[in-house]
């Protein structure tokens, strides 16, 4: 109503008051006069300020936006206050999630083939937590469902985008002959019928599934 607040403070207030990460689009909507290019610099300024004045939180760039988060040294206190909120990810869940994240879009059969165990329960639990979602169906017999990661995944793991994931150590990528390998598992053979080392076809990197992960289900 009076003089409009200083953009930096307004930006800080905006990020502070949002529960999820504030996207640049949201920031622009609220602060049209702030050019998007200035945002990262202002966030850095704010973070310097927060650190200098000993605040127990800071702004992180996650899931394509900015979010206030507590510093790690306070995790014990916060978990004591709100034990129900604690994130619990079992080792199977983490393994399954890793495969989905790096290989997305991927079918359950592909994940199970890689882990060599039934993944139904784990997939369900990951879906329920919103860490993965169904991104489509594979154009194959039975039209199996394809899984991909969500922006909730990025938020949970403190990643700004999928391209911030560490590069997968060089290992034969599987998409190329996923179908064949399924057969392998079935008849327990695993040698001759294999398509062989043309698996290097897919050069390592996950193919920016960023778009798939943009929106939550």
């Amino acid at each position: 109503m009076t003089s409009s607040p200083e953009p930096r403070a307004a930006l800080e207030a905006l990020i502070f008051a949002s529960e999820g990460p504030s996207s640049v689009a949201t920031i622009r909507r609220a602060l049209p006069e702030l050019s998007p290019g200035r945002i990262p610099g202002l966030v850095d300024d704010i973070n310097d300020d927060l650190a200098r004045s000993g605040r127990p939180y800071e702004i992180s760039a996650v899931a394509g936006g900015y979010q206030f988060r507590t510093r790690t040294e306070f995790s014990a206190v916060l978990l004591a206050a709100q034990p129900d909120r604690k994130l619990r990810l079992s080792r199977p869940a983490l393994e399954t999630l890793s495969i989905i994240v790096y290989r997305q879009p991927v079918t359950r059969a592909q994940v199970e083939d890689l882990r060599c165990v039934d993944c139904g329960a784990v997939l369900r639990s990951l879906l329920e937590r919103g860490l993965i979602r169904i991104v489509g169906r594979r154009d194959a017999p039975g039209r199996p469902v394809l899984y991909g990661s969500t922006s909730r995944f990025l938020e949970t793991f403190g990643l700004d985008s999928l391209s911030d994931l560490p590069t997968l150590p060089e290992v034969a990528t599987e998409e190329a002959h996923a179908g064949v390998r399924q057969d392998d598992a079935a008849d327990a053979a695993g040698s001759e019928n294999d398509a062989g080392p043309e698996d290097s076809a897919h050069p390592g990197e996950h193919e920016q599934p960023g778009t798939a992960a943009e929106s939550l289900p």
């Binding site: 529960e19 994130l87 793991f157």
Partner: protein, 301 residues
């Protein structure tokens, strides 16, 4: 005991965390196959399938994944399966499939290689080695992911205002029943007219009400407005509520506005009915408006 970056050491999972990692490490170091059954039982639970078990055996024996002594590995693997059967552990089918695979590889290793026929004759172990390496890679990746600063484990986001989280809504043609239900609520809650001690003849028309509704929706700049908000215009009289209601129906009929309702997990409409202009938000003039507040506060005429 375990090579860097491999399986049995620190467990990245916060949930199964230290406890299981420890349980797992103890028997692994101490007992060989066929060792103390009680210890194994605990251990077996935490193997994530045959590949996990094979990797463990490879680490334990310090084997090279590219040059696995398949006879040794198969033997130890089968010892495990025997043990599990003895302990009445429900064996997942995958374990048996893997046992068959190992047996087959072993038998193929015994055959003389037919060098002359195909130079590209693959080592029978190659496929298994590749799968193991791939699985090991993802175990490693999983551990790295688990070591990150995780939200709601290591760091916590602020929770400024639980009401501020926007709801996900899908467009839906609300049933007339739903609308009437909402109207009934409003009418039920409207003060009984007799209470006011004076009769006010309102000179409002359907046209007025349609303009009023469109004003409110425009003020909301494309954001959904609760259906009931549109009806709560004051003074709250039955005539006014009914006319507003009719105006909304008329506007919906001529497709000037759209009605929305939240759809729950089962796919049933639930929650408040919301209304917005039929014009897409992008088509609205991009004015940073201060007007939406009017919807809430008052509407004087």
């Amino acid at each position: 005991m375990s090579t860097p970056g491999e399986t049995s050491g620190a467990d990245p999972s916060p949930e199964t965390g230290r406890g299981e990692a420890r349980r797992r490490r103890d028997p692994a170091g101490a007992a060989g196959p066929g060792g103390r059954p009680g210890t194994w039982a605990v251990k077996l639970e935490v193997f994530e399938g045959p590949l996990d078990l094979l990797l463990h055996l490879i680490r334990q024996n310090d084997l090279d994944i590219e040059d696995i002594p398949i006879a040794l590995l198969a033997e130890q693997y089968l010892d495990y399966l025997d043990l599990m059967r003895e302990l009445d552990v429900d064996l997942a089918a995958e374990y048996l499939v893997m046992a068959a695979t190992l047996a087959q590889i072993k038998s193929r290793m015994l055959l003389p290689a037919k060098q002359e026929e195909g130079q590209d004759e693959e080592d029978p172990r190659a496929e298994l080695a590749r799968r193991l390496a791939e699985y090991a890679t993802f175990k490693q990746v999983a551990r790295e992911l688990g070591d990150r600063e995780l939200l709601n484990r290591d760091v916590f986001a602020g929770r400024p205002d639980p009401d501020g989280v926007p709801e996900r809504e899908a467009e839906l043609s609300v049933s007339l029943f739903g609308l009437l239900e909402a109207l009934k609520t409003v009418l039920d809650q409207a003060p009984v007219e007799a209470h006011v001690h004076q009769v006010t003849i309102e000179t409002i028309t359907l046209q007025d009400r349609m303009l009023f509704v469109m004003d409110l929706l425009r003020a909301a700049a494309g954001d959904p407005v609760p259906f009931e908000d549109l009806l709560s215009d004051t003074p709250l009289t039955r005539v006014r509520v009914v006319l507003t209601f009719l105006a909304i129906l008329e506007l919906a009929r001529i497709q000037a506005l759209r009605l929305y309702q939240h759809i729950d997990q089962e796919g049933h409409p639930s929650g408040p009915v919301r209304v917005r202009t039929a014009v897409l938000p992008e088509q609205l003039p991009q004015e940073p408006d201060e007007r939406p507040t009017e919807t809430e506060s008052q509407h004087d005429e």
